[in-house]
């Protein structure tokens, strides 16, 4: 017996400082934090990061190498709208730029504008979604290296596009270009007439060509210092930026309204209408009309099962390790708002992302449940929080 006693090796528990444990076992580190009632970022379970929003501030020097379609300086800014959003340590900078394209084909909705009742009749039952438009977002998450865009960037860009389209925030009508006409008066002075008044409308209608143009909006969204999922920040930043968009007014010179060009190919001639004769007014712009009651803001939630074995309070109370631990210990599932940080991102497999209007309607709702089971109660809780968050952000954007 004594022999055995002597050869027994005493096992010392290995312990790591918290920051090292967080690197080698993010999962355990997160569980330990949660068991104490707060998160690695020292936030509470349902506490969001602080958010600051600034719109319309980003300026750039005027430079355009595209001679055909010029986007004018917008009070000295090239971008049509912008937003700088800071949430926690993450910066999201959104710039809205735009261009003008000619509508090649007549859509059903265009025909309703023209007084072409016969054609209208046939296509009347055509539906909703075709009347709405979206912007083309490009998300770039800066990681300090160059390279092709990642799947995450592509996925977020596409989700932003889809959500914006289906939230019905932008109609095609507001993106339609109503060009004015620049005329040279008898005394040689030049003036631009816009179809604002009835009288002017008649003049421009008589002069302008029958082509139709639309604005296309692009959003360049740059994320700096990513610490976790960024979809909600990109969306909030995009929506805030859109609210600051000013579209330049455009006009056509009266001499250019009917510009034609002859082309020759293989001995044949054809008359081609010159496309690019639309100019942008450097001084005049209009606000982009958004459908106010469709403005919504996004928030993200994570759901995780608390591992009773990782509970620090249990460890301290139960000095006798041999005693079965799982007895009487129930797995508790908790909801974490606004997930952030490596530990939370890698360990939390079930997430909910909600885009809500302040009035409680939803525009986008996505649940991914690869980990903890998502119960009705958790869904309810996240819904309540998302409405609150949406109201908070609305106030922040309005006070800008």
């Amino acid at each position: 017996m004594t022999d055995v006693e002597e050869s027994t090796v005493e096992v010392h528990p290995v312990s790591f400082p918290p920051e090292i444990l967080a690197r080698i076992s993010p999962d355990l580190s997160l569980q330990r934090h949660l068991s104490l009632g707060f998160r690695p970022s020292s936030r509470g379970f349902e506490e969001f990061r602080d958010i600051t929003i600034n719109t319309g501030d980003v300026t750039r020097r005027i430079q355009s190498d595209d001679n055909s379609v010029k986007i004018p300086p917008n009070n000295g800014k090239q971008g049509l709208g912008s937003c700088v959003l800071k949430q926690g340590d993450v910066f999201v900078i959104t710039q809205i730029t735009g261009g003008i394209i000619e509508d090649i084909t007549l859509s059903k909705n265009d025909m309703e504008l023209e007084d072409d009742t016969e054609l209208l009749e046939i296509t009347k039952e055509h539906s909703d979604i075709t009347k709405y438009s979206s912007v083309y977002p490009v998300v770039e998450i800066n990681r300090g290296r160059m390279g092709a865009c990642t799947d995450e960037e592509m996925t977020i860009s596409q989700r932003l596009y889809d959500s914006l389209l289906h939230s019905h925030i932008l109609t095609q009508d507001v993106l339609r270009v109503e060009p004015g006409v620049r005329i040279t008066n008898e005394d040689g002075s030049v003036s631009i007439i816009y179809p604002d008044t009835k009288e002017n409308k008649e003049i421009t209608n008589a002069l302008k060509p029958k082509k139709k143009w639309s604005y296309v909006l692009y959003a360049k969204i740059e994320v700096f210092g990513r610490t976790g999922p960024v979809y909600d920040m990109c969306w909030n930043s995009l929506i805030a930026a859109l609210q600051s968009v000013k579209l330049p007014r455009t006009f056509i010179d009266e001499r250019a309204t009917d510009l034609k060009m002859t082309v020759r190919a293989r001995g044949r001639n054809a008359v081609v209408m010159e496309t690019y004769n639309l100019l942008c007014d450097p001084n005049e712009s209009t606000n982009l009309q958004l459908r106010e009651n469709s403005i919504s803001y996004a928030s993200t939630y994570g759901i995780i099962d608390l591992d009773p074995e990782a509970d620090i309070t249990n460890l301290e109370n139960n000095d006798d390790v041999d005693e079965p631990m799982d007895e009487g210990l129930e797995t508790k599932t908790v909801l974490l708002a606004d997930i952030d940080g490596e530990a939370e991102e890698t360990s939390i497999k079930s997430t909910i992302s909600i885009t809500a209007c302040p009035n409680g309607r939803f525009k986008q709702f996505s649940v991914v449940g690869g980990g903890a089971k998502i119960t009705k109660e958790l869904l309810m809780r996240s819904i309540t929080l998302s409405k609150q968050r949406s109201r908070d952000i609305t106030l922040k954007v309005q006070t800008v």
Partner: protein, 306 residues
């Protein structure tokens, strides 16, 4: 990850020995083209071709765009062929730069696009401003050899089957009529090129092949995957029903007798004729099925069949 197909020495010896004795593994004769199965999908221009175990799907799509600046009177026509690991482990995702894959898409491109099978001037809407862009999307689903032949049939059948929406030019504007509103218009097909691939095997050594008097090379039509792996030379001829040679492609490999080429073209012509007729017949049957109501809508008077 792309993996080359490996055939064991004993199996390859067996196949070659069988060929020497005039046998093929699938019991076909040397000049026998596999039976072509043509299936049309629900939409226009959606075709699935099956040749033995080889399956190729082709789908035509169209859009309105601007023509190239130097060709204002022509529409656009693209053929996209991309292979995925779905067809077999020898293909890799997003990497279509393999020698075989490039060769396949080049041959189809030459056979169909550069032979002018599609009337691209007929795709012009407003000269220099608007035209149709037609795209043939070829999807390789399952590979058991003969991708070139099957895809060519698939592309041609799909082009013949496809109808683009009718349009009206409305001043400066183009109105595209949905198919339920106005009968869509078929594409202008000028001829139907069909590719036939011949594979060569050398039963004797290489010296005999080059210097020897006899032409003992074995020529088989429409090789399957295993035969393709073992063949030493390949020739693809593209013909149409008008007895015109559209393309002859023999990229190196086993040297062959010049007269064999003529012989191959003759053999290929019979197959071309048969396949062309089969495509046209299949399209006729399909059109009839789609057009169930044409008899009802016809203004023709009912006549007593005497």
């Amino acid at each position: 990850m792309a993996k080359d197909i490996e055939i064991s020495t004993s199996e390859s010896k067996f196949i070659l020995e069988a060929l020497k004795q005039n046998y093929r593994l699938d019991n076909r004769t040397f000049d026998q083209f596999r039976d072509v199965k043509i299936q049309f999908g629900e939409e226009l221009g959606d075709v699935l071709i099956e040749m033995g175990k080889t399956k190729v799907h082709c789908k035509i799509s169209s859009s309105i765009t601007e023509p190239y600046e130097d060709r204002p009177f022509e529409g656009l026509f693209f053929i996209s062929t991309e292979s995925t690991p779905m067809a077999g482990p020898q293909f890799e995702n997003g990497n279509n730069t393999g020698e075989d894959e490039v060769l396949i898409s080049r041959i189809i491109e030459k056979a169909v696009r550069r032979s002018g099978a599609l009337d691209i001037e007929g795709l012009c809407i407003v000269a220099g401003r608007k035209c149709w862009a037609i795209r043939a999307n070829v999807h390789f689903l399952d590979c058991d050899g003969g991708f070139v032949d099957a895809s060519c049939i698939a592309v041609m059948a799909a082009l013949l089957h496809y109808k683009k929406p009718d349009i009206t030019i409305h001043g400066e504007k183009i109105i595209v009529h949905p198919t339920e509103e106005r009968e869509p218009v078929p594409l202008g097909i000028l001829h139907v090129p069909i590719c036939i691939t011949f594979s060569f095997f050398n039963p004797l050594d290489i010296e005999e092949n080059i210097k020897g008097e006899g032409n003992s090379e074995i020529v088989i039509i429409d090789a399957n995957l295993k035969e393709e792996q073992l063949r030493e030379g390949v020739l693809t001829v593209t013909l149409n029903k008008n007895r015109e040679v559209v393309q002859v492609s023999k990229a190196g490999g086993l040297p062959m007798d010049a007269l064999t080429l003529m012989e191959c073209c003759h053999k290929a012509y019979d197959i071309t004729e048969k396949v062309t007729d089969q495509i046209l017949e299949a399209i006729k049957v399909d059109n009839k099925q789609r057009d169930k109501f044409s008899a009802m809508l016809s203004s023709e008077n009912a006549r007593e069949a005497s």
